[in-house]
């Protein structure tokens, strides 16, 4: 699903971006042409200030990301994209479940996961909850976030600090390890 979405990376982002027409955002800007490299990598491309939309095999939105810079590589039907200074909307059943922002986000088609690092912030769309941590991995097919390092999740006047956590994408259910919860 995510793999298929990633394979249409360039095309999807181009179409959507044209419709959106956000000023200062273009998938064409500073784009470097794809090049054949090693055996495993069939295509490699770099983008700056662009937007990428990934759909699953059924055409449902999985993730939409805005970023300052990206490097994408593709091998066969599998792509790996690294985004810099990125903000990504994470979808569940066609709706935005959460927004994730981080200095570095890697969408890995091989592992079917998105990894964010460098200080990650996640804001739930529905629950009024937010979380920050050092790094997080999102497995869209499992609808799970796995966070680690200096975790702090806040919902209203309740906050949790922990070493790590796993939660559904919308942060409705979460499990923390070595955790301390405070009610103000």
């Amino acid at each position: 699903m995510l793999i298929l979405g990633l394979t249409c990376l360039a095309g999807c982002s181009g179409n959507k971006e044209t419709k959106a027409g956000s000023p200062g955002v273009s998938n064409k800007a500073a784009s470097k042409s794809g090049k054949q490299t090693a055996e495993k990598t069939a295509l490699q491309a770099e983008f700056t200030k662009a937007r990428i939309i990934w759909n699953d095999g059924k055409g449902r939105r999985v993730m939409e990301a805005r970023f300052k810079e990206a490097v994408a590589s593709q091998s066969g039907k599998i792509a790996v994209v690294e985004l810099r200074d990125a903000k990504a909307d994470l979808y569940k059943d066609g709706r935005i479940a959460a927004t994730l922002s981080a200095p570095r986000i890697v969408a890995d088609g091989r592992r079917k996961e998105v990894r964010a690092s460098g200080g990650v912030k996640i804001i739930s769309a529905a629950e009024g909850a937010s979380a920050v941590c050092d790094e997080v991995t999102w497995k869209s097919h499992l609808n799970k976030l796995f966070g680690a390092g200096s975790v702090r999740m806040t919902r209203n006047n309740v906050s949790v600090t922990a070493d790590g956590f796993q939660a559904d994408t919308a942060l409705k259910k979460a499990r923390f390890t070595n955790a301390k919860l405070g009610i103000e």
């Binding site: 209203n156 949790v160 409705k172 499990r175 923390f176 301390k180 919860l181």
Partner: protein, 194 residues
């Protein structure tokens, strides 16, 4: 005289029933554990769970304030108050429960002057339930409660029972013995030094 007053308060409480509107007996609280599961308005802390109350308000005369509760597992239920803030509705602890609290006893000196004594309350039980709307902690299963005078090593009062309810809004303690047995309440006399 002080002991007599204390005994009277305790004995009168045995059959007391309480019910009060919602209160903030615990106030701010911290829940910690090895694993903490948060699902909606239910939070389950397991593995060395600890619920610490951190109220800055002074202990009211004639009242009891929970310091902390420790157990293998502590589950708390949250509710949204009128200001949409989340508050603790109830907390239940299971497995090796240890509870610490302080109570403020209003007594009189021998010459009739009012005297406030802050005593430590420590309790162990198999399980415990704290309900905010009832302002009470209900301890169940081989309950042992020790009430200690400030600076004293030995407990001033020892309570054992199968079900013991400690009121937090006042100093009443309701004791029930195990089936077929009586609850025990022991006051340990000590020499009057003064």
């Amino acid at each position: 005289m002080r002991r007599l007053a204390f005994v009277l308060v305790m004995v009168s409480a045995v059959c007391a029933a309480w019910g009060a509107p919602q209160s903030v007996a615990v106030g701010k609280a911290t829940l910690s554990a090895a694993v903490l599961d948060w699902d909606g308005q239910t939070i389950i802390a397991s593995g060395g769970a600890s619920l610490v109350a951190s109220s800055n308000a002074p202990l009211k005369p004639g009242g009891t304030r929970l310091d902390y509760m420790k157990a293998e597992t502590i589950t708390i239920q949250l509710l949204r108050d009128a200001n949409k803030k989340l508050a603790m509705k109830s907390a239940s602890a299971t497995g090796g429960v240890v509870m610490k609290a302080k109570r403020s006893d209003q007594e009189q000196t021998t010459d009739g002057k009012p005297l406030t004594i802050i005593r430590d309350v420590s309790a162990t039980a198999r399980s415990a339930v704290l309900t905010q709307n009832q302002d009470a902690v209900k301890l169940t299963g081989n309950v042992i409660i020790k009430i200690t005078d400030p600076g004293a090593a030995e407990p001033y009062a020892l309570i054992t029972g199968e079900i013991v309810t400690v009121s937090l809004k006042d100093n009443k303690i309701h004791i029930e013995g195990p089936p077929g047995k009586q609850a025990e309440f022991t006051i340990t006399p000590k020499e009057q030094a003064k």
